[in-house]
């Protein structure tokens, strides 16, 4: 709660063109925003530039921040819009399909892959192999610990879509794990 108050104070100062406040905001949120963006665009240089754009947009629009959501949620919402439009511009959606076959790319059958990898590593790789849409919601819920309302705001989708998208992301993850020889007994 204290963090949120501090964040809002920073935004107020940024609205007054206070560069020190922007530097402080970067210190607090840059890493999380960068990680979120990188998991969508997948290229470090692109993620860095998109992250910069997010904070420049925050700098320019701090005056219109209405404090209806936390600053972190607001930044992730900007980050999502920027990352997705960058992805569209670069037509990198095909990368998702390529990476969806990432496990098969090893040239091994699923059993061999399962033997090579411990379960946690297999899980990380399968999450990385999800589509950008599914990976994004998994990240928002599990890593950024956003509520249903917050995810709805960041992705600009209805609450029920948030729930069903997360459900299908988990189902797809289980399918990828099953293909890698890890049967979780669900769904």
């Amino acid at each position: 709660m204290q963090d949120q108050t501090d964040d809002r104070t920073l935004i107020t100062r940024i609205a007054g063109q206070d560069q020190a406040a922007l530097r402080a905001l970067l210190g607090r949120h840059q890493l999380r925003v960068y990680r979120f963006v990188l998991r969508i665009v997948r290229r470090e240089a692109v993620a860095e530039e998109v992250t910069n754009e997010v904070f420049l947009e925050a700098w320019r629009n701090a005056g219109s921040y209405e404090a209806r959501s936390s600053v972190g949620t607001w930044l992730l919402s900007i980050a999502h819009n920027r990352a997705v439009s960058t992805l569209r511009r670069r037509r990198e959606e095909t990368i998702d399909e390529e990476s969806a076959g990432a496990i098969a790319d090893d040239g091994d059958d699923p059993e061999v892959v399962a033997q090579k990898l411990d379960k946690a590593e297999a899980m990380r790789r399968c999450i990385a192999a999800l589509s950008a849409e599914h990976r994004t919601i998994i990240d928002l819920v599990y890593y950024h610990e956003k509520s249903i309302n917050e995810v709805s705001e960041i992705l600009n989708i209805p609450l029920n879509t948030v729930k069903t998208r997360m459900f299908y992301a988990r189902k797809k993850l289980s399918e990828l794990l099953a293909a890698a020889g890890i049967d979780r007994g669900w769904p």
């Binding site: 530097r23 240089a45 999450i127 599990y142 610990e145 509520s147 729930k163 459900f167 669900w186």
Partner: protein, 222 residues
């Protein structure tokens, strides 16, 4: 039948809420709903362990990303660019250049003069930026990496319709500087003001190329 459907539907709805139940991000009403369901359907508790596994892997995957961010100074320098001060300065210069070329001079002369103005203008902006970034001090050309930085990276030809202001903004946005030209074919040599990574260089040149309204052609120099 309808009873089974309702039961399945309730089960699915609860199943959909479980990730937020595990992360503690459900509101009080939904938390109570999930807990009541779990009491009556203990088999569903197995899902909680699966979700905890998924969360652990997601956190590990994110925390494995450890970037080394460039200094915040570069970003802070950019905060001054599109905002009022730089913009009004920019508009002033662009207007002045426009006025200058209102006179009916031959097209080729106008274009050459415009290009010269762009070079001077972009260089002035870059010098101003460097002075701001370096805190008012200056560095000599023997600074490490400066030679690589000075090398032209591409040759750019602009469309006949491109305005001076549009060219200046495009070059400034992509952190490019004109270093030579016009060359045969109407090309100009450009180099980066900063030292971007190869990926970033590619991205910026692609951004230049995508501006068909301003740019006729881009050829790599190296």
């Amino acid at each position: 039948m309808s009873g089974i459907d309702e039961q399945l539907s309730e089960r699915e709805e609860i199943e959909m809420l479980l990730p937020w139940y595990v992360t503690g991000k459900l509101d009080a009403a939904d938390t109570a709903r999930v807990e009541t369901y779990l009491q009556h359907h203990p088999d569903m508790r197995r899902q909680l362990a699966l979700i905890a596994e998924e969360q652990t892997a997601t956190i590990a995957g994110n925390e494995a990303i450890r970037p080394r961010f460039a200094s915040a100074d570069a970003l802070l320098a950019r905060t001054a660019t599109p905002s009022s001060v730089a913009k009004s300065w920019l508009s002033g210069i662009v207007d002045a250049v426009k006025d200058l070329f209102q006179a009916p001079t031959p097209g080729a002369v106008r274009w050459a003069a415009a290009a010269a103005a762009v070079i001077i203008f972009v260089q002035a902006m870059a010098v101003g930026m460097l002075l701001t970034r370096e805190g008012g001090s200056y560095q000599t050309a023997s600074r490490p990496g400066v030679e690589a930085q000075m090398a032209p990276v591409a040759m750019v030809a602009f469309t006949d319709q491109a305005s001076v202001g549009a060219i200046a903004l495009l070059l400034y946005d992509q952190q490019l500087r004109l270093v030579d030209g016009p060359l045969p074919g109407g090309f100009y040599s450009v180099r980066f003001v900063d030292q971007p990574s190869p990926d970033e260089q590619q991205r910026r040149l692609a951004a230049v190329m995508s501006r068909k309204d301003i740019v006729k052609a881009v050829l790599p120099s190296r």
